[in-house]
Symmetry: C2
Subunit: 341 residues, 2 copies
Amino acid sequence: MIGICVFNSVFILASTIYDIADKAGVSIATVSRVFNNRNNVSERTRDKVLAIAKEVGYHPQANAQGLASRKTNTITAVVPVISNYFFMEVLGGIQDKLNDHNYELTIYNISAGKDTFSQVEHVLKRRASEGCLFISIHLEQEEWKALHRYNIPITLIDEFYEGFDSVSVDNQQGAYRATKYLLHRGFSRVAMLSAVSTSKPIESRLEGFRNAYKDAGVDFDHSLVVSGDSVYRDGFTERGGYEAMVKILTMKPEVEACFCASDIQAVGALKAMQDLDKNIPLIGYDDIELAEYMGLSTIRQPMRDMGFFATQNLIDRLENPKKAISQTIYTPELILRNSTE
Amino acid sequence: MIGICVFNSVFILASTIYDIADKAGVSIATVSRVFNNRNNVSERTRDKVLAIAKEVGYHPQANAQGLASRKTNTITAVVPVISNYFFMEVLGGIQDKLNDHNYELTIYNISAGKDTFSQVEHVLKRRASEGCLFISIHLEQEEWKALHRYNIPITLIDEFYEGFDSVSVDNQQGAYRATKYLLHRGFSRVAMLSAVSTSKPIESRLEGFRNAYKDAGVDFDHSLVVSGDSVYRDGFTERGGYEAMVKILTMKPEVEACFCASDIQAVGALKAMQDLDKNIPLIGYDDIELAEYMGLSTIRQPMRDMGFFATQNLIDRLENPKKAISQTIYTPELILRNSTE
DNA sequence: TTGAAAAATGTAAGCGCTTTCATTATACTT
DNA sequence: AAGTATAATGAAAGCGCTTACATTTTTCAA
C-alpha cells in the first residue's frame, strides 16, 4: 500500500542564534546566555528571547554547542547486542538514572563480525560523548590499559579491570550457590547447562560449578558440562538451552538435576524436558521477570540496579574526575521456586 | 570492595587536524580529505597522514565534523521504554540494518512523566541526527503535522500518519484472526485479555476482537474484555496478564477461551491458570522468541523485520528526499501451538 | 621538449555556538 | 547629585572541522 501526499507546510529555515539575536535586538552572546540559563540576563530580555525562539522553533544545535563548549552532554553505552534480556534490563536502569540528570544517551552496538577493540577505540576517538558505560565488553588487560590514553571516563558493567570503575556480579559465587544447593539436596549428578565456553561469564560460572563439587567432596565429572550447538548470542538463547537439555537427557540419563547458565536457556531446557517427557530440578540464572511467572528457580542478578548504579558512578566521576576508582561487586542471590520442587 | 589505583599512563592531548597536518607537512585540507576518503589525495600522502594519525590516536571529532559538514551521520530512534520485548526486537532489526551502513544510532527514551510531544520536539530541534525512527510513539494528527516544520526525515514504526513514511502491523486484523479462530473452533465465550484501554494497540486489537464476534454472528458481550490493574508499561507485563486472567477465571467462569493482547501477558495468564488449576485455550500476540518454547499459540508480528525495513526506508529517504511517502502495513499471522490444543 | 589537461595540494571562509573581556546601563550609597 | 558597585550587554576570538576556489605539481600527447 503506497500513498503519496503533498504538504504545503512551511519548513523551518533552521534558524540560528543570529536570527534570534536579530529579531530580539540583542547580541548573540545574550541569546546564548538565555539558553544556558546564565543568571546575568534581565528578565525582560530573557522573556523576549524565549518568546521569539519559541515562535520560530529555535533550539541550540547540539554540534555547535558541543564544539564550542567542548561538552556533549551525552554518555555512550557500548553493548554487544541490544536484543538480549540482560542488556535490556541494564539499559533500563541506565535510562532511569539518566532521566534525572541532563544527559543524553547514545547506544553503540559492537558488531560481532569486526574486531571489538577497534570498534571500542572508534567510540572513544570520536569524542562524541563525555563518558562511556561498557556493558559486558570483555577485552584483554593490555587493551583496557590502552584505552586510558583517550582520557575519557569509563565505567565497566559486568567486567573487571582495575584501571576503571566497575560494577559487576560475582559469577563464580552465583554458580557456586546454585550448584551447592542442588548437591546438598542430595542430587549427586548435577549437570551444568552451559553456553559457548569462551564467553566470559561462562568461564567463571563454570569455575563456581566446579568449586561447589570440590567443596561437596563429590568427584567432578567433566562430561557433566554440556552446551548446545548454536552459537548465536554465545548460546544464551532458548534454542541453545533446548539443544543442551536434549543432549543431557538422552546422553546422560543419570543426571538428576541441572544448573543452567541463564534463564532464557532454561526456558528452552524446560521445553526439552517436556518434549522428552522427563523432569529434573532446574536452576536458572539472571532472574528475568519471566522467571517468577514460569516458576523458575534462579540466581538473581540485580541487572537494573547495576545499570542504575554504574550510571550514577559515571556521573560522579564526570563531576569529580579525581575521585578514587571503585569496584563494586554484587553478590547474586538464590531464588527458589517451583522448578526445584 | 573499593580499590585505588594510580596509572602513569600518558594521556592523549586530543590532537586535532592541525597537529596531524603539521607532523605530516601538509595542509589541514589534505588531512580532512584523507579522513573523508576523497580520492584526490596521492597514495603517498594518504599513507603518511594515516600513519601519523594512528600513531597519535587521532580521529575527527564528531561535533566539529557535524558542524562543518552539516551532517551528523547519526540516526535517532525514539522509543517509549527500552525494556520491552517489542522495542528490543525492533531495535535489533534497526541495528542489523545500520551495521551495514555508516550510521551511528542514538536512542532517545521518552519519559512517561513528561509531555511526549515536547520531548519529541526537543529531539528534532537539537538537530543531532539526520533522521528519526519513531517506535510506537503515538501523537495526535495535529502534532504529527507540526513536526513537518523541522524538516527532518522521519519514519514511523507501529504508528500511522499520512505525512511520514510508516511501517506498521494491522492490529485490528491480528486480533480478528485470533478471535475468529477461537470462535470457529466452537468456543462461544471467548474473552480478550486486554491492557490499558487507552493504549493505541489495544484500541485496534479490541476493534478486531469485536469485528470477529460480529462476523461470527455471535452477540458481543462487553464484559468479556478484561484487563489487570497494574498500569506499568500500559499493562503489557506478566503481572498485568496474571491479574487479568485471575479475574477472568474467578469472575467469568463461563469463558471458554482467551485472546491475549501480548505474549508477555500470556506468560502471566498461563501462571494464573496453573495457580487456579484451570486451563483454557489461549492465543498470545507478538510471537516473541519465548512463545515457541512455551508452546504458546500467537499472532506473529515481524518485529525485527519492521525495524530492519523501516531503517532501510529512512536511509532511502535520506539519500533521496523527494521520494514518495510510503506506508507499509504488515499482516500478522496466526501461529498455532500447544496452548490452543 | 612543450603545453594543456588532470591530479594534488593549499588558502581561507565559514559552520553555530561559548566565553572572556570590555563596555554600558542600572542601582545603591552618602 | 555625584560616585561607585553591580548588573546587563556586546564585540570578537575561537572550538575543529569541511569545502569552494586558487594554486602548484604531475602526467602525457604531439
